[in-house]
Symmetry: C2
Subunit: 352 residues, 2 copies
């Protein structure tokens, strides 16, 4: 008997062409140890080279040697979602219309210790997430409703249901502080739920096709989602309203101008940042030089500030007669233009 596959995946399987170049690995040099190359470094210009692995690639602390099957859990339906408790004692398997709970603390053949009926009988569960204390399980799938299970009672019971307008949830994530649940919906929306009040906090159309997957940084400020629309979206939370931003043309740094008067220079991957305090009111515009070595910001405080990337040494300041609302830098980095609340524009020559 052919195993049925959840419909969303099935559509993707059947309707899209596979992009992987066939026979690529065998036609490229760089095989090592008799195994054809399978890891390729793709440079910014698209050049593809087999990766030479460092000597500690497969050795050293924290690197597994292999994995050993220790339990088979016969759920009885296609298992589209799994999770394991922090205590590593319980495993939750999501199939059609129910999640089964398994105790894996003892060896030997297994039967589920509980069955949590959710969604409708014929609808697949697509994600289940456990809060770290192991007392709450959130389940989503081919339904517009998420179920929140209380596992602390003698018999697990649904303590809340969260209903959105999307027909299905493809993926779930819990914020590191366990206060918020994010649901990736089949209509491309990301729905943000308050787990304490069980209310929809907000939703946003992240993808033009289904939102398929999600992850959150450990500090909870960054959220990534992937979609069937070929895009990855990253959302980053800031403390304050953002009026202006610029991405350094040479990479690595994003500068943002805040309503609070701060300019912040954020590394695109590291959590630390530079905070620059020379504006005395809203930072209304911001523009990087094309060389990436400096950028300018303008403010409601009448100031034009030029800053060194990334640490923000003040290169020069110019005080205008009114709010400076906009700015631009010429592609040769020789001129700056500002637009002012004083009903004029000013052209500056940059002196090196």
């Amino acid at each position: 008997m052919r195993v049925s596959v959840p419909c969303v995946l099935q559509v993707a399987y059947e309707s899209r062409s596979h992009l992987r170049p066939s026979g690529l690995s065998s036609s490229l040099p760089g095989s090592s140890g008799g195994k054809p190359a399978y890891s390729f470094h793709v440079s910014a210009d698209g050049q593809m080279q087999p990766v030479p692995f460092p000597s500690d690639a497969l050795l050293g602390p924290g690197i597994p040697r292999h994995a050993r099957q220790i339990h088979t859990l016969s759920h009885g339906e296609v298992v589209c979602a799994v999770t394991i408790s922090t205590s590593t004692r319980h495993v939750y398997t999501g199939g059609k219309g129910c999640v089964k709970v398994w105790d894996i603390s003892q060896p030997g053949s297994k039967s589920p210790m509980a069955q949590l009926d959710c969604l409708n009988r014929d609808n697949y569960i697509r994600s289940c997430k456990l809060l770290p204390d192991g007392r709450t399980l959130i389940v989503g799938g081919e339904a517009s409703t998420l179920s929140i299970w209380d596992l602390a009672t003698p018999t697990p019971r649904i303590k809340a249901e969260l209903t959105s307008s999307a027909p299905a949830c493809y993926a779930l994530a819990i914020s590191p502080d366990n206060k918020v649940c994010f649901s990736c919906c089949s209509d491309g929306n990301i729905v943000v739920w308050d787990l304490h009040n069980q209310t929809l906090v907000r939703q946003f159309q992240g993808h033009t096709d289904g939102a398929s997957c999600i992850d959150i940084s450990n500090d909870g400020t960054k959220l990534w989602t992937g979609g069937l629309d070929n895009t990855v979206l990253k959302q980053q939370q800031h403390q304050g309203i953002i009026f202006s931003l610029g991405y350094c043309p040479t990479g690595e740094w994003l500068a943002v101008g805040m309503e609070s008067s701060n300019v912040e220079v954020l590394h695109v991957s590291k959590p630390d940042k530079y905070q620059l305090h020379l504006h005395e009111s809203c930072v209304l515009s911001l523009k990087f030089a094309y060389c990436g070595k400096w950028f300018v910001s303008t403010g409601k405080d009448n100031l034009l500030n030029a800053w060194r990337t990334p640490y923000g040494a003040s290169i020069f300041q110019s005080k205008e007669s009114s709010s400076v609302l906009s700015c631009d830098v010429s592609p040769d980095d020789k001129y700056i233009v500002t637009g002012s609340g004083d009903k004029k524009a000013t052209v500056y020559e940059v002196v090196y």
Copy 2:
């Protein structure tokens, strides 16, 4: 007479409290050269330290010494948008209901060489962007319509108007290939326009309050927007449908599982990536170990693959009897659980 400020900015000015700690710079150590510290490094845990500047902070190639005002352009209305041509000959200033064009190639006092009437007479222009050839100008502001100006004709003329459902555009950006224009809307949407066909390609609700600013990477694959909702959104284009993703808990790397069978490991700031070719069909799930040193992916090809971060050396593989639809790693990195099309889950012990 008080200068009027575009309404959106005005609301923000008046209704929000300023977040900048008052007197902070003078109460912190680290002043240098008599100037109080104004640049602070904020570490991941929120610790704030004055930044010691390197010796080449204000010296060296590409670092301006200062800027000299060379022209004042009396536009006659608050100038909310400015841009300068690649030739550095023309400046465009956007005010109320019109953009004025200035020739700055000669010294001396200035009057505009052209006036481009756009939007309605009382509505502010909020952004104007010039294509690099200097022949096309795109103008947006307090109106639902963007105007595209042909500047190559003897008298500039509107060659197209692009109308969206949002009442205003706060910022514009042009893709590096000049084919696409992105408009940041007051309703939080980002609208993507095809400049050749003058059609709306797509739009997405990026922010829950107005989208205030935007920038694009030089290679056109990354887009940042900032919003009045305190968030920065980054959208990254991929070649293919994304079924799964994970962010490395120790930072720097995002792994994505593609419908094409590839696993890609992307550096969050650099443009290069690793592409891993061991799956033979869709990559259905992906999960990082908590230590960040390795991650697992599972596929429609029945495989569980464990990979070294980031370069993807294959640590181990396990072939199951059917599609592996889901996986999880225990927080102590000792167990992996998979869910299968064969109606079962499998628990693996990770052997170090």
